[in-house]
């Protein structure tokens, strides 16, 4: 609980992940045989160096956010989105800007001043701005500069029936699980990679996979739980509280049937609830990893998350615990030879 709270409250918009990286590095130093970063900012934690098979487990550290692209004469900041931001969730949300975490709020014309037709349309990012409470451009320039990132400001806390609400659940929930995994020992070479820039195109993962070149890769993610009002159950992607979600296909990746079967059997053996992720769009780091070198067998397990990409995402801590158990079970089973990695490439003649 404490680690995921710290991780979700840290700031790390794509390309600016150092806050999250430093936290993880500090947390995991006692458990690592080797810690490295690379030029994109991926963080690698290695254990069991020299053992076989070589397994990479990846979770992206970055979150969606905004970037300052202009400063108006009245001191308001013009912004653009970084990653898949739903513009409808932006207005009136508190944010922090730049490396000094200058507090501000995303502002828009108040309802009293809007014309009737304006009230019917969601605001686009061009109509929004960040207000950091200054009088003019000169004052603003003392505190922020063009190119500064802005991230949602939100504290994480428990609500309801063992749920957690906060920002950046996508994908600090994966980071938290991966951090817990690193704290245990397995009879294999484990490279935990906390990747960067997933939200803007799986960029960190593609160089990390090239760098690590593992025999097998597991990706830990937060995925959409669409068991909400206005969605028929035919359209649910996952259900909150339904257990870890096993991916079959997304826009970047199709899981090999053998891998799906292995994950399902592992979950069943451990008596864990699980669900199959019922959406074929959106991408994950597995898309990039499975395409590295001559191809790497990969899998994705996700924690269901309502209101993904908003500062008020909700996860179930039961799902979190069960995803951690499943991921641990997968590593244990691989160490025991439960997934024949040779079978992924067959010599016929």
């Amino acid at each position: 609980m404490l680690l995921i709270k710290k991780l979700t409250e840290a700031y790390g918009v794509s390309g600016d992940e150092s806050g999250v990286r430093n936290l993880l590095r500090e947390e995991l130093t006692p458990y690592a045989e080797k810690i490295e970063t690379d030029s994109l900012g991926n963080l690698y934690i290695k254990k069991g160096i020299g053992k076989k098979p070589r397994v990479m487990v990846a979770a992206h550290m970055d979150e969606i956010g905004l970037m300052v692209v202009g400063i108006e004469s009245n001191g308001l900041l013009q912004v653009k989105t970084v990653g898949g931001v739903d513009e409808r969730v932006l207005v009136s949300k508190p944010v922090v800007v730049g490396e000094n975490h200058v507090p501000g709020v995303i502002g828009a014309k108040a309802i009293h001043l809007q014309k009737p037709h304006e009230r019917k349309k969601p605001l686009e990012v061009e109509q929004l701005y960040i207000d950091i409470g200054v009088k003019n451009k000169e004052e603003a320039e003392k505190m922020v500069k063009i190119g500064d990132y802005a991230a949602f400001l939100a504290t994480t806390h428990e609500i309801g029936d063992n749920c957690l609400i906060g920002k950046a659940m996508d994908n600090r929930v994966g980071c938290a699980i991966l951090a817990e995994l690193v704290k245990e020992d397995y009879d294999l070479e484990l490279t935990a990679v906390f990747t960067v820039q997933e939200e803007i195109g799986l960029r960190g993962a593609s160089v990390a996979a090239y760098n690590v070149h593992p025999d097998f890769a597991l990706v830990l993610e937060g995925t959409t739980a669409s068991d909400v009002a206005g969605v028929e159950d035919t359209g649910y992607v996952t259900k909150l509280g339904g257990g870890p979600a096993i991916s079959i296909m997304d826009s970047s990746f199709i899981a090999p049937q053998k891998v799906i079967n292995f994950l399902v059997e592992t979950a069943k053996k451990l008596n864990l609830p699980f669900q199959l992720r019922r959406l074929t769009t959106a991408g994950t780091d597995a898309g990039a990893i499975s395409q590295a070198h001559g191809g790497i067998p990969s899998a994705v397990i996700s924690v269901p998350c309502r209101y993904l990409h908003s500062p008020t995402s909700i996860i179930s801590l039961d799902d979190y615990e069960n995803t951690l158990r499943l991921a641990k079970g997968v590593l244990m089973a691989i160490a025991e030879g439960g997934l024949s990695l040779e079978g992924f490439a067959e010599k016929i003649k």
Binding site: D233, T234, G235, Y236, I248, M249, S252, I254, A255, P256, Q257, I260, L276, R278, L279, T280, T281, S290, Q291, A292, H293, G294, G295, I296, P297, F344, A345, E346, K347, I348, K349
Partner: protein, 338 residues
């Protein structure tokens, strides 16, 4: 070749689930090549050893399909697309899951046919309820069109001519190819229809000197057609460009010269949309000079795709000639100019 094409066309093999078609193709080629193997993405490699230029020839073996996302209490299956599947084309089709389970595509009541989208459609496998359906299929299973291929003169009608026609051409070329100094890597690639994925990793693995894809292409020879130069029955098509690749001018020229020399009818293909495996191959590592031989095909991505056996024969001749030609890489594709 018509029997081979019929067999390949009727075999199940949607993107990511190419096991069955891979097995069929492996059986067809293994007596004609030196090595056969697969990789983690499921690509099938057939190698003819040689000492000189390493040529990769890719034909994707996957076909488009639909993937089950939900099973309702009455046993109806909801689905999403795998690759470019159109709801209009799906309407009224019969589909198969490759394990023998066959289903009808049904549609919800619609007040306007223009409102037809994939989420208004469902698969009916004849199950009476959810429990019965779950014994036959599970979430994540992929179905393809269920269709026998028919031969009408020189033309063949059926599903998955995209790209089993290309696979048949490569298989036939491997059979006919005499000893050459080139080292030939024929790759029957996976997951082309969802983003050229198999060719990306196989091309990295092989690190070829030259790349050539064999795939079908769209035609402009039907009533009220799009403005395309390619016509069915007018020969193998030499690709100039599509949305994924601008073919290397030297490869285009080599193919044109070989066609003229061997009197093989060819047509030039300029496609503004769509992509093929050469799109991934030519960007591998430091770049690979690449081209494409295309087989004209009507009604692409429908269960009634139509190809012409003469075009395929001409494609085999052109491919065989290309694979037999010595290429002095330093002279043909010089990198250092001084």
């Amino acid at each position: 070749m018509k029997d081979l094409l019929k067999k390949l066309s009727e075999t199940y093999g949607p993107s990511g689930r190419e096991e069955k078609i891979r097995k069929v193709i492996a059986g067809e080629i293994k007596d004609f090549v030196d090595e056969v193997f697969t990789d983690p993405l499921g690509n099938l490699y057939a190698v003819k050893k040689g000492k000189s230029t390493k040529i990769m020839v890719a034909a994707h073996m996957d076909e488009i399909g639909i993937i089950v996302t939900y099973i309702d209490k009455d046993g109806f299956l909801r689905f999403s697309n795998v690759g470019g599947v159109s709801p209009q084309i799906l309407l009224g089709q019969r589909v198969t899951f490759g394990n023998g389970v066959v289903g009808s595509i049904g549609v919800e009541k619609l007040d306007d046919i223009k409102k037809l989208t994939l989420d208004k459609l469902y698969i009916d496998i004849g199950a009476k309820n959810k429990e019965e359906a779950e014994k036959l299929v599970k979430i994540g299973d992929i179905a393809t069109y269920d269709r026998e291929a028919a031969v009408m003169g020189t033309r063949v009608i059926g599903k998955a001519m995209d790209n089993r026609a290309g696979c048949a051409v490569v298989i036939e070329a491997l059979r006919r190819l005499r000893e050459t100094e080139n080292e030939i890597y024929a790759v029957f690639t996976t997951q082309e229809e969802v983003g050229l994925r198999g060719s990306r990793t196989s091309s990295y693995r092989i690190n070829p000197d030259l790349g050539l894809a064999v795939d079908v292409t769209l035609v402009g020879d039907t009533p009220e057609p799009p403005a395309l130069n390619v016509a069915l029955g007018k020969g193998a098509a030499i690709k100039v460009k599509d949305a994924s690749v601008i073919c290397h001018p030297k490869i285009k020229a080599m193919l044109s010269e070989l066609a003229a020399k061997h009197k093989i009818p060819v047509q030039m293909e300029v496609l503004t949309a769509g992509g093929t495996d050469a799109g991934a191959i030519h960007l591998t590592r430091e770049g690979v000079p690449s081209g494409v031989i295309s087989i004209p095909c009507r009604y692409v991505h429908t269960p009634v795709e139509m190809v012409d056996l003469d075009d395929m024969e001409n494609s085999v001749k052109l491919l065989t000639a290309f694979l037999s030609t010595s290429v002095k890489m330093q002279e043909a594709f010089p990198c250092a100019l001084v």
